[in-house]
């Protein structure tokens, strides 16, 4: 075997074919940005044969999300036997794939949506649901509360039926609290009480390195924005003007950053990096028992259930004001749907107390429907064997603030990530960082 590659082919032909290959490689790279991808359609996801109307519905999540939605659709089938649903679970890259479906004229009739709701609504892609709720005699505000309705409304139009909604709560490790002799977190805590507790819960090893932290947060809007809102600040004011570098916001973020850089009671980006983690991944450390407190949503209840820790949840502390982020999702109807009426009817059922019950009984999430939350199926579910205090999710429901889910929401988050990167590491002052974010956001919204 003494052949070298290309023996026998003329150099010219070889060069030409390499050039062609080069071009093809370059092109496929570009094309992959525009090629449409089919969402993964799990087998047997259809909720039965079509009789009159078949609707397509896209949801994100995992198998459990799909199972719960199938349960709910089975209930819907009893109430609305003429409507069949082809349920598509899109486990990865949901936003990109749904965007591609819309771009390709293959929009689903019903889509699960959350933070990007106004990307779609501002581009005329969603149907106002208020008339449909009115036609069914359902009042959205009394069903879901003003906060949820506000989150999914602009200019008096309701772009999504609130479906899942839970306030952020404090997850805390009881053992670490007991060992440090600190009282468990509560809604009565103010910032100083929180900071003090975090300090007491922070331990250093013999080399002076922190081995246990009081609090873990990082680059995620429910963490940094909540400091602003609790301090009377905001991101966009009533007129939609950015107020990122206001005195309230600077003071608020300084408070958190002092915990990171001075007290060292909250994880710094360097601390996370030492654990091989991104700035803002407290979950693994909480599970390892190295972190006393973290703030996140309902989903950690199920992931911590079998972690072998003694933990519980509590409502969030307060600052000058009470402000709590919430993690919600809604179901929206595409404006291009040929079966808007049927789709909206289905949503009214799915977001009713009866339609939301499987969310509670399965322990999947907090239902958005207030009657479903008040129901014993949520408050005392059979899966809650470790007596987790589920009332924490509802206790602060009235303090939920609506983050600025404007069409430029992704760019705004990126502006915070970029502008604050050097703040958390102490290379730049809080004021300079927020000034930079303010300038970027002004540019985005002008």
């Amino acid at each position: 075997m003494h052949d070298i590659a290309y023996r026998g082919a003329s150099p010219r032909a070889v060069r030409a074919s390499i050039a062609a290959l080069a071009a093809a490689l370059a092109l496929t790279g570009l094309a992959s940005c525009s090629a449409s991808e089919q969402p993964d359609t799990p087998d047997g996801s259809g909720a039965g044969q079509a009789e009159n109307t078949t609707l397509t519905m896209t949801i994100w999540g995992s198998d459990i999300d799909q199972k719960v939605m199938e349960e709910r659709l089975a209930l819907a089938k009893e109430a609305l036997p003429d409507i069949a649903v082809n349920l598509q679970l899109i486990a990865n890259d949901y936003d990109t794939k749904v965007q591609t479906m819309f771009a390709g004229g293959q929009a689903p009739d019903i889509m699960m949506t959350a933070e990007s709701v106004n990307v779609y609504s501002s581009k005329g892609q969603l149907e106002d649901l208020n008339p449909y709720f009115a036609a069914e005699g359902v009042d959205p505000v009394s069903s879901f509360g003003q906060g949820s309705v506000n989150t999914y409304s602009t200019d008096g139009k309701l772009w999504g039926a609130p479906d899942r909604s839970g306030a952020a709560v404090v997850y805390y490790n009881k053992d670490l609290f007991d060992a440090a002799g600190v009282a468990y977190p509560s809604a009565d805590w103010d910032w100083d009480a929180f900071r003090d507790a975090a300090k007491k819960l922070t331990l250093t090893d013999d080399n002076g390195n922190v081995s246990q932290w009081g609090y873990g947060a990082g680059d995620w809007w429910p963490w940094y924005m909540t400091w602003f809102y609790q301090n009377g600040g905001t991101v966009l004011d009533g007129q939609g003007k950015p107020q990122v570098n206001s005195a309230e916001n600077v003071e608020a973020l300084q408070f958190y950053n002092d915990m990171v850089l001075i007290d060292k009671s909250a994880l710094s980006p360097l601390d996370y990096a030492d654990q091989g983690l991104d700035n803002g991944s407290p979950d693994p450390l909480f599970v390892q028992g190295k972190l006393a407190m973290e703030v996140t949503g309902f989903w950690n209840v199920s992931s911590l259930k079998d972690a072998g820790l003694d933990w519980d949840i509590a409502p969030l502390w307060h600052g000058k004001e009470s402000a709590v982020p919430a993690f919600s999702s809604a179901l929206a109807v595409a404006a291009s749907s040929k079966n808007k009426e049927a789709a909206a009817k289905l949503l009214v059922f799915l977001t009713s107390a009866a339609g939301q019950k499987p969310i509670a009984t399965s322990g999947l999430d907090v239902p958005a429907n207030l009657a479903a939350v008040a129901d014993p199926s949520f408050q005392q579910p059979s899966w809650n064997t470790s007596d987790v205090d589920l009332s924490a999710f509802t206790a602060s429901a009235s303090d939920v603030y609506a983050p600025p889910f404007v069409p430029q929401w992704n760019e705004i988050q990126k502006a915070f990530t970029d502008g604050l990167a050097d703040v958390y590491t102490g290379k730049q002052s809080v004021k300079a960082g927020l000034d930079k974010v303010q300038a970027t956001v002004e540019g985005l919204l002008k």
Partner: protein
Amino acid sequence: MNTAAAARERAAKGPFEAAKRRRFAWLSSRLGRRETLLFYAFISPWIIGFVVFTAIPMISSAYLSLTDWDSFQTPNFVGLANYVKIFSQDPLFWPALGHTLYFAAISVPLSLLIALFLANLLAKPFRGAKFFRTVIYIPALVPLVAAAMIFRWLLAPRSGPINGFLALFGVEGPAWLLDANWIIPAVILLALWQVGAGTILLIAALQGVPPEMYEAAELDGASRTRQFWNISVPLVTPILFFNLITGMISGFQVFSQVYVLTNGTSGPDNASLMLVPYVYDNAFRYYDMGYASALAWVLFAIVMVFTAIVIRSSNAWVFYETEVRS
């Protein structure tokens, strides 16, 4: 003979005569036709694939780059506005281009050198050669997300083995992923780790070098180093050339390595922003498909120019055995 006259002649000879001629022509070129048909039959999967998945998307993206398409509403034609914005108003385009050139200029030649070095070691028969060849190729099989997780640990500022190694020499290692000056070198490290695929090609090429050439050189007293530079390297230049072209193109299109190492932030503060992630962000996070298309075309032009330069230069340094140099 003009066509009208030919038509008249055919008409005069009648349909029977014409049919006979056609039949004869078909018989004479039956083999040729068969070959032509087979050619198209065999190439059709590629042609169809090219048209559907490359040509049509390319043409559409060229058109979209002249519009303000947000991927939902009807696109409005805006002329060259997107291109003007790229070159004169976008504060991130030039940094992104600079970072991409930096990454490609370091990672591509380094990968080639390392691959050549490793291939030269592994091409020779020795005990355990197969084992080491497998080991070298394993990183190419590890999913990138898993590799990135390993790299986060390797690059950890205070506890990572890389900085631990540097500390042996009294060097205080940087906080790689958090430092604007070190994030791109970190991405380059991750890219270099995956050098196995190029190495395998070079091993095959080196094993293809006729041993009588080495024997002849040895008789003439050429040292091992001399043999490497004057026999091995010239004879594998076609593979080096291939690796250079493909490496350069994928270097310009670097996406996954930065995306997984920086968790999609291109951070800190855009210090590792590369062109393809920027295209992706504009298209799928900021819903500016028209602008993203324009960026993609600018990238395409840049890649084409660099590829053309390298192909042009290949006359000077790529050696083909069948080639006769005057």
